[in-house]
């Protein structure tokens, strides 16, 4: 049960930061996960009065406030240009609309949850997070280190030419995922993120598996089936997995290979289709 002694709707980030220096105080995002445990909070810090619940499109990036909801990632049509609409795809299996109207982007990332679809998807994009004190840092670094007593204020996603695919495996619909995979293919290379391993999402060191030519093949839609299969096996071997009540490590490792293969295949097909269209024009 969640017990809260005091509640403060922060009037400034400075005030929220100061309150957040006490261990007994907690920032509440959507509060959905926090409520699941037995938690005694002295002061609940609410950031919802700070205008951080929207997103803004700039010339070369999107800025998403920490209090924007997961539902906004789905319904904000501007965000669909990012990685073939990966953000919408990644959240649609999370419980239900009512849940996603509450769960926040900031809470999902700051929690660095093992099961996070959101963290996995953002890792496949060129994402940075802004911490109140530490400033902008790459999401992968944040995922590894966390915010400590700092505050995740905004999320920045670069607009670029990457295509993305998001895949997850769930034992039943709307449940936590057994494994999540997000892949991106850009001129600069392939990027693969895997989460719910069951530990938190990581970026798979893809460069060691794929040489530049291979990545370019996929980006141009020219990779053949055997090559995709071989890459998938190499990449999956670099995804550390573990066991929990949902699945064993061996099953997850098998899934990793299957999902990565499907993902690479989809990226390759998408590129081939676009190339076909261009040639026809």
């Amino acid at each position: 049960m969640l017990r809260i002694k005091e509640y403060v709707k922060a009037e400034s980030l400075a005030q929220a930061y100061e309150l957040n220096q006490k261990r007994a105080n907690r920032i509440i995002g959507g509060m959905l996960w926090m409520k699941m445990g037995t938690v005694n909070v002295h002061t609940a810090i609410d950031l919802s009065g700070l205008g951080l619940d929207g997103s803004e499109e700039r010339k070369d990036e999107f800025v998403i406030g920490c209090m924007a909801t997961l539902r906004q990632l789905e319904t904000d049509e501007r965000l669909a240009v990012l990685g073939s609409g990966i953000l919408k795809e990644s959240v649609k299996n999370i419980v239900g609309v009512q849940f996603r109207n509450l769960a926040t982007v900031g809470g999902s990332l700051a929690g660095r949850f093992g099961f996070s679809d959101v963290l996995t998807a953002f890792l496949a994009l060129d994402t940075e997070v802004e911490l109140y004190k530490a400033g902008r840092i790459p999401l992968a670094k944040f995922a590894a280190e966390g915010a400590g007593s700092d505050i995740l204020v905004r999320v920045f996603v670069k607009k670029d030419d990457r295509r993305c695919v998001y895949l997850s495996h769930r034992n039943t619909k709307t449940d936590f995922p057994v494994l999540t995979v997000a892949l991106s293919s850009a001129r600069s290379g392939i990027r693969v993120a895997a989460g719910a391993r069951p530990q938190r999402a990581i970026l798979v060191p893809a460069d060691e598996c794929l040489n530049k030519a291979d990545a370019a093949d996929i980006f141009e839609g020219r990779a053949d089936k055997e090559a995709l299969q071989a890459y998938a096996a190499q990449l999956a071997a670099k995804v550390p997995t573990g066991s929990n009540m949902r699945a064993s490590a061996a099953y997850r490792s098998h899934l990793a290979e299957v999902l990565i293969r499907r993902g690479l295949t989809a990226l390759n097909e998408q590129a081939a289709k676009e190339r076909g269209k261009k040639d026809a024009d």
């Binding site: 509060m31 539902r71 649609k92 609309v97 709307t174």
Partner: protein, 155 residues
């Protein structure tokens, strides 16, 4: 803490404890359609509208609803009855415990997307669990209601 909430059109000002959940607050104000079904933010039975958006009232602090409009099934009687008749018409449910939450979220769906496809219906209502049925009756009821609406409300 003092809060002001407009519950089904009625302004209420009250002192509440910071960890009081909106679910318990609306029930304390007579809205018994709002149910606690799972305690894990999963079942959708406690669905209410906060500023017109469907949310899980079991996961919202009452203090966070301060200054906002909250609607429950009690406040949407006409809309709910009209649609509910189609669910009943299919004999879709057995115990009916999940019905108010499902009707709330279905109304949210119809307002957002008046002509949803079957896939869109399933996706929107995925967070509303029913343990008696296999959801088929509800789906038929929803489709019958949509056809009735499309035909200008004539059965």
């Amino acid at each position: 803490m003092q809060i002001r909430i407009t519950l089904n059109g009625r302004k209420i000002t009250e002192d509440v404890s910071p960890d009081l959940l909106l679910l318990d607050w609306v029930r304390a104000h007579g809205c018994y359609s709002v149910k606690r079904g799972c305690e894990t933010s999963n079942c959708g039975l406690c669905t209410v509208f906060m500023e017109d958006k469907p949310v899980l009232s079991c996961s919202v602090l009452a203090v966070r609803a301060d200054g906002k409009r909250i609607e429950t099934l009690e406040g949407l009687r006409k809309e709910a009855e009209e649609f509910g008749a189609f669910i009943a018409g299919q004999g879709a449910e057995q115990c009916g415990f999940c019905n108010p939450g499902m009707i709330m979220n279905a109304i949210a769906l119809f307002r957002e997307n008046p002509e949803p496809s079957e896939e869109e219906i399933k996706e929107y209502l995925a967070g509303n669990l029913c343990r008696c049925s296999g959801y088929e009756g509800q789906l038929r009821g929803i489709q019958a209601f949509l056809a009735y609406k499309k035909g200008g409300g004539i059965q």
